[in-house]
């Protein structure tokens, strides 16, 4: 039975109770303890810097050429905090409730409450670092409302909030590097987790410039390696985003949860051709002023501006009058897919809906709209060559955020002692659907405010443990296994590129384990992915050598995506209900709304790897709701 280790006490007191009782380490002893942090996005950088400030020795690893490039940088819209600066009825409890309801009651009360509770401190921290959040003319911080909530609790820095928060964390990290408390390894990719006596004690990393395979030992390992939405190939993620670190930890025993819960972001640029590598996200803050519509009749060949007002179907306003264009992401994306499947899509591939600013431009004027969204309108024009001040944007849902990830307990520790997972790499706070502007928040809160308490609590026992060095046989075994895998990839010498397999897998998952799924589509997908994996093993082709070789890097990531894809389908197949982003067509109402099954599925699915040809084993962590009442999530 897996134990989430939720502290005792009232919901509002749990985190304080934990902090009051967590074990401390004498400052003089901290420098004897080494911590490895893999991934230098918001969660990784903030955690590494905060632990280094306390006096621990930290090594960070990232595959990019600088910590500043991690994909947190691309988050546009904002970060939530229950400051209630607008005096519009916000509170920690309300933010907690919005988040747990937004997640369709598939997350832990205690974790979500803590997230809301720590949100205010994060804004303070970021401002102290010099993050230039938007301000009113008098100098007070400005807020806006964001997808799925009715209060204005989102702090933002134009459309580049992620970039600004990441720069804050990156600079804190660079400061610690200059003080000698952090050593950053850039252009390094973690290829295996090393366990000694069942505990995480180090990693095997590949130097992506020289090809050298390196061993690094530590007293604890933190994975803050982001989400795996790139499994769909076409997604809003960066090209290098991958599942490898968490997947390889999974194969060493760490459980994975909510694996098939993938958020499709409703406001992305649609696919327009076969060679496309990326679906660019347009911040959903655009939905504050943009109205979403499609033509009323199917197969309308006219361009948007030729379609008169009375022939437009503002389907979100029609179906969800209370929340309208601000309905949560899963609902908005599914509603778009429903209209596109009904033949009402626009654009060259008939796969898009309109996001129309004409009303907002008329009411607020161009200057106001430009100040709020100028960079997004410019970005849209750069990519499509279309001026969105003159005609509606065309948008479409795209794979974006993974609510799932490594199972962690309240301390953010995985099922492997000493292995922690932070940020998008863990499954913990968003349930089956994440609310907008909660992702920057979660990664920062995990890194700045939670891990700096929970990791020392674990490390306190490590002081007495025997020091592990990289000479330990576990390191040799791991290294040997990695070398063999790399050689195998190089030596297949088939005729298909890693990208070919990645694209095929992505298309298959979009169709069969995407915005909606059925038993039949999932069973079919598992058969097809297994066949694709076989073909990958025999037909992969990599050219070049084992030094700088992006094809070799891709091959390792695609191999892991293939295995992950099978687990995603298994997870979706086993969960016979519709909740949040997980929409099983068999479980819906007559008017197409999701039907959740609290009777049978009110638990976290935690999957255990049993070997390549074995089905994964399911462990269940029951979700106990002591404070909130489970309701049907209605945005009507």
């Amino acid at each position: 039975m897996i134990d989430a280790k939720i502290p005792a006490g009232n919901l509002a007191d749990k985190w304080s109770n934990y902090k009051d009782r967590s074990k401390l380490i004498n400052p003089a002893n901290r420098k004897k303890l080494d911590i490895i942090v893999v991934g230098t996005g918001l969660a990784g950088s903030s955690c590494a810097a905060s632990l280094a400030e306390q006096g621990y020795n930290v090594k960070t690893f990232c595959f990019q050429d600088s910590a500043r490039r991690a994909h947190s940088v691309a988050a546009q819209g904002g970060v939530n905090a229950a400051k209630n600066y607008k005096n519009d009825g916000d509170s920690v409890y309300r933010m907690f409730y919005d988040t747990i309801k937004g997640g369709d009651f598939r997350s832990r009360e205690a974790n979500v409450y803590r997230l809301a509770e720590c949100s205010m401190a994060l804004i303070d921290q970021a401002v102290a670092q010099g993050v230039p959040f938007a301000r009113e003319y008098a100098g007070y911080l400005s807020n806006r409302s964001f997808g799925g909530v009715q209060v204005s609790r989102t702090f933002y820095a134009r459309g580049q909030t992620g970039q600004q928060l990441l720069i804050g964390a990156y600079q804190a990290l660079m400061r610690q590097e200059s003080l000698g408390k952090v050593k950053t390894y850039t252009r390094h990719e973690m290829l295996d987790l090393v366990l000694v006596d069942g505990k995480a004690r180090g990693i095997i990393a590949r130097n992506l410039e020289t090809g050298e395979i390196e061993r690094h030992a530590a007293n604890a390992v933190v994975l803050a390696t982001g989400g795996y939405g790139k499994v769909y190939y076409l997604s809003t993620l960066a090209m290098g985003c991958n599942t490898s670190a968490i997947w390889r930890a999974h194969k060493k025993g760490a459980l994975m949860s909510g694996v098939s819960w993938i958020q499709f972001h409703p406001t992305c640029l649609p696919q327009i051709g076969e060679t496309q590598s990326k679906l660019t996200l347009m911040s959903e803050s655009l939905r504050n002023d943009g109205r979403i519509w499609v033509p009323k009749k199917a197969c309308d060949e006219r361009v948007p501006n030729e379609i008169p007002e009375e022939e437009r179907d503002y389907y979100l306003e029609r179906r969800y009058p209370t929340f309208g264009n601000l309905s949560p992401r899963d609902i908005s994306s599914r509603a778009a897919k429903e209209r596109i499947d009904a033949g009402c899509g626009l654009g060259p591939m008939k796969n898009a809906v309109c996001l129309d600013f004409s009303k907002a431009l008329k009411e607020q004027g161009r200057d106001k709209i430009e100040e709020k969204y100028g960079n997004l309108f410019r970005m849209y024009e750069k990519i499509n060559g279309i001026d969105a001040y003159k005609e509606p944007m065309l948008i479409s849902p795209a794979a974006h955020f993974t609510m799932g990830g490594l199972w962690v307990d309240y301390e953010l520790m995985t099922s492997i002692p000493g292995l922690f997972a932070l940020g998008e790499a863990n499954f913990s706070d968003h349930g089956a659907n994440r609310l907008g502007a909660n992702s920057l928040l979660q990664s920062c809160v995990d890194g700045y405010f939670i891990a700096p308490y929970t990791i020392p609590n674990y490390l306190s026992a490590e002081l007495k443990a025997e020091k592990v060095t990289t000479d330990h046989p576990s390191f040799s075994e791991s290294e040997q296994m990695i070398r063999e895998q790399l050689d195998r990839f190089m030596n297949v010498q088939g005729q298909l590129s890693a990208d070919h397999f990645h694209k095929t897998l992505g298309k298959l998952l979009y169709d069969k384990c995407g915005l909606s799924r059925t038993r039949e589509s999932l069973e079919q997908a598992i058969i097809e992915i297994k066949a694709l994996k076989k073909s990958f093993d025999h037909e992969l082709k990599i050219t070049g050598d084992q030094q700088v070789n992006s094809e070799l890097e891709k091959a390792g990531r695609v191999a892991d995506f293939l295995e992950l894809g099978i687990l995603m389908c298994n997870d979706a197949l086993q969960r016979e209900e519709s909740c949040g982003a997980h929409f099983r067509e068999e479980f819906q109402t007559a008017d197409g709304e999701a039907v959740r099954n609290d009777q049978d599925f009110c638990y976290v699915s935690a999957w255990e790897w049993k070997g390549e040809d074995q089905p994964p084993e399911l462990h269940k962590e029951p979700l106990v709701f002591e404070t909130v009442e489970l309701t049907v999530r209605s945005y009507k």
Binding site: S66, R69, G130, G139, Q160, Q163, G240, T543, Q547, V548
Partner: protein, 248 residues
């Protein structure tokens, strides 16, 4: 469309590189520049040749990983645009394109178009931060910052660290990169306390990394994908002189 590409190929830091020609057919104008290189790489794999290595990640103009000289211009012909945001509709059928890495003494080539930009990290390490440890922060609205000051700080903070400014500068100067960070932090009350030490350390580090001096040609501003203004260089010089003068 069809293009002739002349691309810089170099094995490693020490090796001598050279330009190699490739004829690429079947390019669609909707492709991004990097997708066009993906297409070429797919074909190189089929032929059994080593792919062209280039840095890229987010492909939406914000991570700062991509960057190459295209016909002698950093990030290609468009202004305010990273290489990944450049689309093939900006080129003409039959054109010849010269594609080279960002070159500077402080940016050694790793392979082909991939370069080492850790010198930028070193510049930030020398002082490009506010020394606010986790947990020390006061309530955020206790620091009032006028809207226009925040916006001006943001304009500087928007730098993506791609290195186009250095690559385009005849002196390989990192003045725009460094000054953007100095401006970002000195404009804000949180960053003012440390401003004198910061500017001296960062300017010294810039020299130590092997970046050249600024001779005010403004070429960097022209190529900066975030359109960061050279006025920040003016502010850096002002802050530097002020710091030297007032140094105890």
């Amino acid at each position: 469309m069809k293009l002739k590409l002349k691309i810089w190929r170099q094995e490693n830091r020490e090796a001598k590189g050279n330009m190699i020609s490739y004829d690429v057919e079947g390019i669609s104008e909707h492709m991004s520049f990097l997708e066009m290189l993906d297409l070429l790489n797919e074909r190189l794999i089929t032929k059994g040749e080593r792919v062209i290595e280039f840095d890229h990640d987010c492909r939406e103009g914000i991570c700062g990983a991509c960057g190459m000289m295209i016909n002698g211009r950093a990030h290609g012909p468009l202004s305010g645009t990273t290489t990944c945001q450049l689309h093939m509709r900006s080129f003409k059928d039959g054109e010849t394109l010269y594609i080279e890495p960002f070159r500077a003494a402080a940016f050694p080539v790793l392979r082909d178009l991939k370069i080492d930009r850790t010198a930028f990290d070193h510049v930030i390490q020398s002082g490009g931060y506010v020394s606010a440890s986790t947990g020390q922060a006061p309530e955020s609205n206790s620091i009032l910052i006028p809207h226009d000051i925040t916006e001006a700080a943001f304009d500087a903070a928007a730098c993506i660290g791609c290195g186009a400014c250095v690559a385009t500068c005849k002196n390989s100067s990192a003045a725009l990169f460094t000054s953007a960070k100095i401006s970002h932090l000195v404009l804000l009350p949180q960053g003012k306390t440390e401003s004198a030490d910061r500017v001296i350390q960062m300017v010294n580090q810039m020299d130590e990394e092997g970046f050249g001096h600024c001779s005010n040609t403004d070429a960097c501003e022209v190529e900066c994908p975030q359109e960061i203004s050279t006025l920040h260089i003016g502010r850096m010089n002002y802050e530097y002189n002020k710091a030297l003068l007032l140094r105890k």
